[in-house]
């Protein structure tokens, strides 16, 4: 996606005034002691890219904000002065852009050029704060319980969207099932009214056709042979006859059906409403029941993970595992009770809903009858009641809806019109009073009513079929999504597991060459087990040392990032996390980064100077792409120390006549270099348990060691008959000894004892030769080409070669076997 070219920081976090770094689009190391301002650079990069500073977010940062605490403390009242300008390269777009962001307005950035493609990539980067990894992040992946690890990794991989889609599809399929149930109930209800009219036992084509054809024969209408979706039962009747909708016998049956039903209204669904009332009362008296229901799956998983007296859900320590298990079992019992309660409420609500559908189907024909018979008030009463029942229906199918119906369920849920039996009686008498219909008219109205009810049935059936289709489609979609996502996630975790194991093996090849890991995903957790010296798979924290666990964290992070970004993993900010790799494996870590992520730019901070130097030796960074801060003050910010800039600083100090500044800088630099070279070359100064070596102890031992190594190289070249190489090394040794002699003369000038007092009368011309002497001396220890410090391999055991990072210097130290 992106690579960093350079950064300009002014008054941001620990950077006072300004700091400019040129990253050269390469991996870059920033070293320096704790509190020297390294992380301020990482903060500035993160801020420029995302508008956020991770350090000011999360646990323990309450009350902190980027706009208020992002600027340098001296600019807290003038935050306008604090800004970061980051030059970014977009390899995929073959262009570069500059992002400028002020600390006082974190959400706003100025991008130049403001091209859409540039903005799109930056928006994507802004959506991935995980490009920054600091020490505290590592533990998130390794030493958390599986459910949290799953959350962390799913968040890192942006997998939450998958869970959301699955959840939406699941809710949709549940709703479609509920709609199907209602549609089926509706079919049953209209089927009953059609059968009631036809006076047949079962709604089957044969019985229907016999009944209908009996009337059609009476009317001299052709017999209906088959019942198809297009069949009209009253086909052939004149339009005027079709308009007559009252069939006296059928109307009386409809009235009787509703009246019979009304007789039973008082006790209708008593058992169900009573149970719902009880269930609601239980919920009311014990609100923890619902909460328990929501937490059910969480507790179930917790119980599975119990492995000792520490609770895997909250880390609380119990006296014994048994007590913890009993506690979780009690919680689970509570949620089981809640689940049963929920099922009970929904089941009983559905039964009442079905009754509403049945009653509404009985009310419909009577409502029409009342209207046609001029009993408008009764017709209106029935209409209002039916609408009320329709509105009640969906409420009975959800817990929230049922909770809101508590009062109604207490006082009689049906709320039928009080005068319904009297009104039905009056309407029945009115219909009965009508003269009997002629056989012809009765047959005509029978057919017309039958057709109307068949239409209702067909309509309900069509809706049911559509609901079935919808429910089947919803279920198929949900099942398919689950299956596809599960397969994809399993593949992903297998790939991550494979990469993680490979990285860790390469890092610890000397003692864990057969390391394997297993990531086991389930619905909401992700188990990680690692092989411990081929003794089996265990959680990472079980037997591995903290250093190894940290190494695992880094490896898992790299494996995940590889999967998140693929070949677009072009930038990672590693803030002091390389300390997580123990000293014996750092070189391998650098090799791992170079081998597996050759196109990724790592911006790495470390408080360990040796680590920084090893990165150079391994060729991960060069002198041009590394910087060292030797200290920090609130007025100056980080104070830079680097091989090139140190000589520039010394020259500048001398130009200004500040000999004491130049001498201090030179001494400081020599202390750093001699310590580093002592390590790189395997020098043997007098051992100090506290590691507090003096320059006067280190430098002579480094010079002695170098002389020994060159001696070995000469012997080796001699044994292999490489006379030209031998001469070259002899020259190198001779020049080294000249420089060594010169520095012995000038040694006093950087002696600690003469600091700050002898320089008072020291002039620029007096100190310049000292600087030249030491500068020349150090040239013997570095490569002109790659500028890395030379080192001996292997680190332990008899030395075999003396080399630099780019192999321009590569002297064989092993003589030919005799």
């Amino acid at each position: 996606m992106i690579q960093l070219e350079s950064i300009h920081i002014e008054w941001a976090r620990g950077i006072a005034q300004k700091l400019e770094l040129d990253f050269h689009k390469k991996s870059y190391a920033i070293s320096g002691p704790n509190g020297s301002g390294k992380s301020a650079v990482i903060d500035a990069i993160e801020f420029a890219l995302t508008g956020k500073i991770g350090r000011l977010e999360g646990v323990g940062t309450k009350g902190l904000s980027v706009s208020e605490h992002g600027p340098h403390v001296d600019k807290a009242k003038f935050p306008d002065a604090a800004f970061v300008k980051l030059r970014v390269h977009f390899p995929g777009l073959a262009k570069s852009a500059t992002i400028t962001r002020k600390l006082k307005d974190p959400t706003r950035s100025i991008v130049e050029p403001a091209d859409d493609d540039v903005k799109n990539v930056l928006a994507e980067v802004g959506n991935h704060p995980e490009i920054t990894l600091c020490r505290r992040d590592i533990i998130r992946f390794i030493l958390v319980e599986p459910s949290k690890r799953s959350d962390e990794i799913q968040a890192l991989l942006k997998l939450d969207e998958i869970g959301e889609t699955r959840s939406a599809l699941n809710t949709a399929q549940n709703r479609l099932q509920t709609l199907l149930r209602s549609a089926s109930s509706q079919v049953k209800a209209v089927s009953d009214t059609l059968r009631l009219h036809l006076q047949i036992e079962n709604l089957v084509a044969d019985q229907l056709l016999i009944t209908v054809n009996k009337r059609r024969k009476l009317l001299d209408l052709p017999e209906l042979i088959d019942l198809t979706p297009e069949t009209e039962l009253n086909a052939g009747l004149p339009e005027t006859a079709k308009a007559s909708d009252l069939n006296k016998e059928s109307a009386l049956r409809d009235l009787k059906a509703l009246a019979d039903a009304a007789e039973g209204f008082v006790g209708l669904c008593t058992a169900e409403t009573s149970q719902i009332k009880k269930d609601l009362a239980r919920l009311e008296s014990d609100p923890a029941l619902l909460a328990a229901l929501q937490r059910r799956s969480f507790i179930e998983k917790g119980l599975e993970l119990v492995d000792g007296p520490e609770c895997p859900l909250c880390n609380k320590n119990w006296d014994e595992e048994k007590a913890l298990r009993a506690h979780l079992q009690a919680k689970l019992a509570k949620s089981e009770e809640a689940r049963q309660l929920q099922d009970s409420l929904k089941t009983n609500g559905a039964v009442i809903s079905d009754q509403i559908i049945r009653i509404a189907a009985l009310v419909g024909p009577v409502e029409i009858l009342a209207s046609s018979e001029g009993q408008r008030d009764f017709a209106k009463t029935l209409s209002v009641w039916r609408a009320d029942l329709e509105a009640l229906k969906p409420k009975l199918l959800s817990i929230d809806g049922l909770t809101g119906l508590k009062e109604r369920l207490m006082s009689g849920w049906l709320q039928e019109p009080g005068s319904i039996l009297a009104d039905l009686n009056s309407l029945t008498e009115s219909v009965k009073a009508k003269p009997d219909q002629s056989a012809t008219l009765a047959a005509q109205t029978f057919l017309t009513t039958a057709q109307t009810r068949l239409d209702d049935y067909r309509s309900a059936k069509r809706k049911e079929i559509a609901a079935k289709t919808a429910a089947a489609a919803g279920k198929e979609a949900y099942d398919t999504y689950c299956s596809v996502s599960e397969t994809a996630l399993n593949t992903l975790y297998n790939e991550v597991q494979e990469d993680f194991s490979t990285f860790y093996r390469e890092l610890n090849g000397d003692d864990e060459a057969k390391f394997t890991a297993k990531l086991t995903p389930s619905e909401s957790k992700l188990d990680l087990e690692v092989n411990f010296y081929e003794r089996g798979l265990f959680p990472p924290g079980a037997y591995h040392s903290e250093g190894h666990q940290d190494g695992m964290g880094v490896c898992l992070y790299l494996a995940l990032m590889k999967r998140v970004f693929g070949d677009r993993f072009s930038l990672a900010l590693l803030d002091d996390i390389v300390m997580s790799v123990d000293s014996g494996h750092r070189f391998e870590f650098c090799k791992l980064l170079k081998k597996h992520f050759p196109d990724t730019q790592f911006i790495i901070t470390t408080h360990d100077r040796l680590w920084a130097a090893q990165m150079k030796s391994a060729g991960l960074v060069t002198s041009k792409t590394s910087i060292a801060f030797h200290s920090w003050t609130v007025d100056t910010g980080p104070l830079v120390e680097s091989n090139e800039s140190i000589w520039r600083e010394i020259d500048q100090a001398l130009t200004k006549g500040k000999v004491e500044v130049a001498a201090a800088a030179l001494r400081h630099h020599l202390e750093y270099v001699s310590r580093h070279l002592a390590d790189q070359l395997g020098a043997q100064p007098r051992f100090c348990a506290d590691g507090d070596y003096e320059l006067g102890e280190l430098m002579p031992s480094v010079l002695k060691r170098m002389d020994q190594l060159l001696g070995k190289a000469i012997d080796s070249a001699q044994s292999w008959g490489k006379s030209e190489e031998k001469e070259s090394i002899l020259d190198r040794r001779k020049l080294l000894n000249v420089s060594k002699g010169a520095t012995t003369v000038e040694q006093w000038a950087v002696n600690k004892a003469v600091h700050y007092n002898a320089w008072a009368n020291f002039g620029k011309r007096d100190f310049e030769p000292v600087v030249v002497t030491f500068r020349e001396l150090l040239k013997h220890f570095s490569c002109k080409n790659c500028e890395s410090w030379i080192y001996v391999t292997p680190r332990r055991g008899p030395p075999e070669s003396l080399r630099c990072a780019c192999n321009e210097i590569s002297l064989n130290l092993k003589p030919k076997a005799q």
Binding site: E161, T171, A172, R462, T469, A472, K475, A477, V484, A488
Partner: protein, 58 residues
């Protein structure tokens, strides 16, 4: 790089294409909704699956 969720969506729609339970017009509607990069809403999905299918009573 294709995001995993995009890849899952692609395979999901592809697999649904071979299913007799989900009509092609439903799949097309799903494709549109999933490509909108917004959170899917159950009510919208219910609408997608409840599309008239042209089926009738036999």
């Amino acid at each position: 790089m294709t995001k995993l969720q995009d890849e899952i969506a692609r395979r999901f729609l592809e697999k649904l294409n071979g299913s007799s339970a989900v009509a092609p017009e439903m799949i097309e509607k799903l494709r549109v909704q999933m490509s909108e990069k917004k959170r899917l809403k159950p009510e919208n999905l219910v609408k997608v699956f409840s599309m008239p299918t042209g089926l009738d009573v036999k």
